[in-house]
Amino acid sequence: MLPAEPVAAAPSDAALIAAWQGGDEQAAAELVRRHARGLARFLSAAGALEADLDDLVQDTFIRAFRSVGKFRGQCQFRTWLLTIGGNVLKDAARRAKRTKLVPLDEELRASGGDPHERAVAGEAEGRLQECLRRLPRLQREVFLLRAQQGLEYQEIAAALGTTPGAARVHYHHAVKRLKEHLR
């Protein structure tokens, strides 16, 4: 039996960034494919309307590619992208000045399982999103980066230009307030 051909390892984000800087458009497309859903999840949880999601994701990537020369690898590309997404969302919200909530019925439509469980889960998510909206931006973003994206405090701190200790404090404040609101 012939030995299986080694599977080519997927290029790292850093390699794709370098390729994009060298003019490879497909490298940019691959970075979008790799991170678009995670970014969309973050933006949606942070308050983006689903109707605006595609535009916000695009704008975030455009802004990131424009300033990719400033990215020094202080954190992962994904984390850096999420913080840019936070800025894009803030700018969009300032422009639109309108309430940003994912309608509850969309969440319910997308969930599987028992209708009653779906309704309860949807209601809980809706309440959490409502509570998140009330948090200061930094607390909201730290909470989402930690609880939703599963990032370490070190990574969050590097992306937000703060210390891991401060990131931890923001997270705990956010959790405390969310629990109070959700009670």
Partner: protein
């Protein structure tokens, strides 16, 4: 941390993890990637023009400054200075001046005549030719 608090934390994390998942799943990633690449392509095409424009503007600004500076310098050079010009008080009889003084006056003014100077300036603003004409008139 007690069990209840841990359970609450775990529940919160689970909820947070689910937030936006459905909306993200519905995102057409291929279409988004295509749109981003197209926008980047458009920006790259527009880039050279964006960079050339300020360069041309800078060149134009330098040209305007040089031209303006040249005109100002020319105007200053053309203006008779108090050190080299002989001031002739109005009403004073030019016949009282010596030939040497008159020659000095003519020698210090060797610019071309100008219509405007004749209209709105005094003797100090007159060109050599105009002064000569004035002197000739006064000499009879």
């Amino acid at each position: 941390m007690n069990d209840d608090a841990m359970l609450q934390d775990a529940k919160l994390r689970e909820l947070a993890h689910r937030l936006g998942a459905a909306a993200a799943e519905r995102l057409d990633v291929e279409r988004t990637a295509g749109a981003v690449v197209e926008r980047l392509r458009t920006e790259r095409r527009a880039e050279p023009r964006t960079w050339v424009q300020p360069a041309w503007l800078r060149i134009a600004a330098v040209a305007i400054l040089l031209l303006g500076g040249g005109l100002v310098t020319r105007a200053l050079v053309r203006q008779p200075t108090s050190g080299s010009a002989l001031v002739i008080p109005l009403g004073e009889d030019l016949m009282d001046l010596t030939a040497e003084q008159l020659q000095e006056a003519l020698g210090s003014l060797d610019q071309a005549p100008s219509e405007e100077n004749l209209v709105d300036t005094g003797f100090e603003g007159l060109t050599a030719e105009e002064l000569r004409a004035v002197l000739r008139t006064l000499e009879g």
